[in-house]
Symmetry: C2
Subunit: 491 residues, 2 copies
Amino acid sequence: MLEKVDLNKIMDREDYKKEFDNLSIELGALQREARDLKLPIIIVFDGFEAAGKGTLINKLMLPLDPRGYDVIKRFECPSETDNRPYFYKFWKTIPKRGDISIVNESWYKALLSDRVLKKTSPEIVEYLFDEILSFEGQLVADGYLIVKFFLYISEEEQKDRLKKLKKNKDESWRVTDDVLKLHKKYKKFLDAAETVFEKTDTAFAPWTIIEATDKRYATIKIFKTLIEAIKFKIKAIKEKEELPSFENFYPVNELSSLSKIDLNKSLTYEEYIEKLHPLQREIHDLQYRLWKERVPVIVAFEGWDAAGKGGSIKRLTEAMDPRGYTVIPIGAPNEYELAHHYLWRFWQNVPEKGNIAIFDRTWYGRVLVERVEKLCKDFDWQRAYGEIKQMEKQFTNFGIVLLKFWLHIDKKTQLERFEEREKNPFKHWKITEDDWRNRSKWDDYLPAVEEMLIRTSTAEAPWNIIEANDKYFARIKVLETFVNKIKEKLN
Amino acid sequence: MLEKVDLNKIMDREDYKKEFDNLSIELGALQREARDLKLPIIIVFDGFEAAGKGTLINKLMLPLDPRGYDVIKRFECPSETDNRPYFYKFWKTIPKRGDISIVNESWYKALLSDRVLKKTSPEIVEYLFDEILSFEGQLVADGYLIVKFFLYISEEEQKDRLKKLKKNKDESWRVTDDVLKLHKKYKKFLDAAETVFEKTDTAFAPWTIIEATDKRYATIKIFKTLIEAIKFKIKAIKEKEELPSFENFYPVNELSSLSKIDLNKSLTYEEYIEKLHPLQREIHDLQYRLWKERVPVIVAFEGWDAAGKGGSIKRLTEAMDPRGYTVIPIGAPNEYELAHHYLWRFWQNVPEKGNIAIFDRTWYGRVLVERVEKLCKDFDWQRAYGEIKQMEKQFTNFGIVLLKFWLHIDKKTQLERFEEREKNPFKHWKITEDDWRNRSKWDDYLPAVEEMLIRTSTAEAPWNIIEANDKYFARIKVLETFVNKIKEKLN
């Protein structure tokens, strides 16, 4: 594909000046229209060393209102991001609806320069392409516009530019060993790029190759491409074209066996205490081993209101070192979270290697409360099963131990607990109008729960259903499941 | 002070059990009340190694609703924070109103363990105490409650505990070389602690020494102290006691010479272009030198609406590498920003070493729009002069070059530009109702501006007043001032 590109295209100063001013005005206007339409835009710049990324990005910024865009630079903190799944840092920087992110060092780095420099391990390459497709696919499905530019110059041109840079005392520092290596491996980089186009030049996020020999020509092509893309998207929004889901949704007939679960399982207080303390001591030790062996863990709690999530979490963390775990309570998203993709706030809380993140309610809200309360379109929650599995796959790919608990009780038990809370002055605050409203929708929730359990139980991250009518039994089963799963991983 | 402390206090299991349960219930209730009152709470834990920080913090967390607190752990990213003023990372983690932060590795580390281990350079120690006082003072003045615990054990006790830890195969790793060094230097640590108490045991943020030999005793004392502190603060809030400002405010009589400024200075287009391009080339080179020599820069733009801030910023950045600068447009704070101290959002944007942060409007909004529009109490903006100077001092202490511009035009020029914007279809969006409303308050803004210029022009960070009736002249003066100031710093 690339060899067919004509790298000799140029543009003279006069044509450039004229075009640039008009395109700038048009782009500025489009940015404001996109903001009013709450259209989030991601612009990716990648390509050969010395192809002029910096200059071209700066040109692009000039007509833009700084109130609406952000340039994603070299990520400050490898020590932080290297300890988390690859896409953590990119999720962190997606723009909120109406804003623009210009990504200078994108997720393609690992498959271009880093791959050529052998900084990307082969086993990552294997699944990185899938992760890129799901990342871009999820954003586009959520209404994001992604425009990807690849800056292309010839080997000769690169050679000349590096020579010039080396001569300039203020810029010579930019010609690092890596840059020189990449120049020597120009052909390898070209091959890597071909592979990238082959696998990631999708309909929902296509690549545009920019002939970057002549800066003026490149600038104008970037402006025109971007303007066309934004116009196209705005048109689609105004015509309310719905984007196709990339997981074909099919209704689940065979329901899970929640009904068949034996909720009578129970423990006496004595049995409970007898099991509790040894388990907590074991958890205390396991936490250190997780920390020492740098294994990250996510524990996800879902369940009916008053099923005992809080109590289980308390018993789980009681013997842990607070420096190694975090409890993340998930409530209704705030204004700022709503302005992002719904998975964004969960990516923020991915634990670093050796740490434990405990979610009190999770991303499954999308297919539970948001589905039942109609807080999102059918299209959105139907798509979510696939998106959630993709996200969890990225977690487990990275080596995160992902434990998912569904705390199950029956309607009668919930009623008793609600009433007990209302009576007890110290628990009264725990019960709200919402709880009663949710309860009234029990029968709408049930099929949503069962569908969730079926669709999202995977080999790497199965659901653990906890019989929770008896709190003692439930807590011990949660702790035992945790201990066994962690031991399994550590041995 | 410390030698007088009795470290033999203990508590038996029964008393403990009883007290703990009651105090837990009380603390839980207080947390909810504090949240309703939007009271932000910061709890600092410091003290000797092996004094039981982790365990005691965990005990404190158990009765708390996780929806309302966060444990600030060892900061993940030294590479990021070491490149910024010391308090950057702490500002990042202050709780929003109604929340609690439990700080595990606090700002006192630099003056305790790090100082004993000679990791803190003497010249930092000199001004660190001032920075701590202004940090805590600013937060308390803004309604934060700060509770500081120092966990105290004897040299003997520490010795025994470290021995036990070493024996335990799962915990021996915690006994690092630093920990052993700190044990050997027990006396030095004690002296450092004495100095810390001497200088930072203030009325607005006092220290509580916790005899930590007996965990039960320590837990109860921590709970009781915290409960008393929160109750006291809640009482104060309900009685609307206003906290004393720590800068005595005096009105400024002698006004600045804004009126005497010659706004007729101007340049022809030819003169402008002739000066512009060489200046931009110089800025391009200076940016690389700043980057190479790791010098951080903050450029702060204030001025009347339509004074030409945007145009100056554009000319300033046109020749810069986007990877090295950021433009931070400051508008009305959003809901989330309002939930923090007003300086919080600016601290978020402090540039790392070698980078340039350009603020389009700044923290001076506190003493301009917020004062004139009565968006905060007189007490708040009056206090702000001192707070802003303290913040800027921390910037310059760290080596940040801080450039402050006031772009000055007269009322007539503003009117012409407003009208021009309304006529011009490409600038129309730039003019809003707000602009006209602000303009009508010109005469209220003038004294606020003059007072700001007088009160906040310091030796390290003076105001540069730019005569901006003529755009060409203004832009060139901004660029020249920038170039000269940076050269001065680099040579």
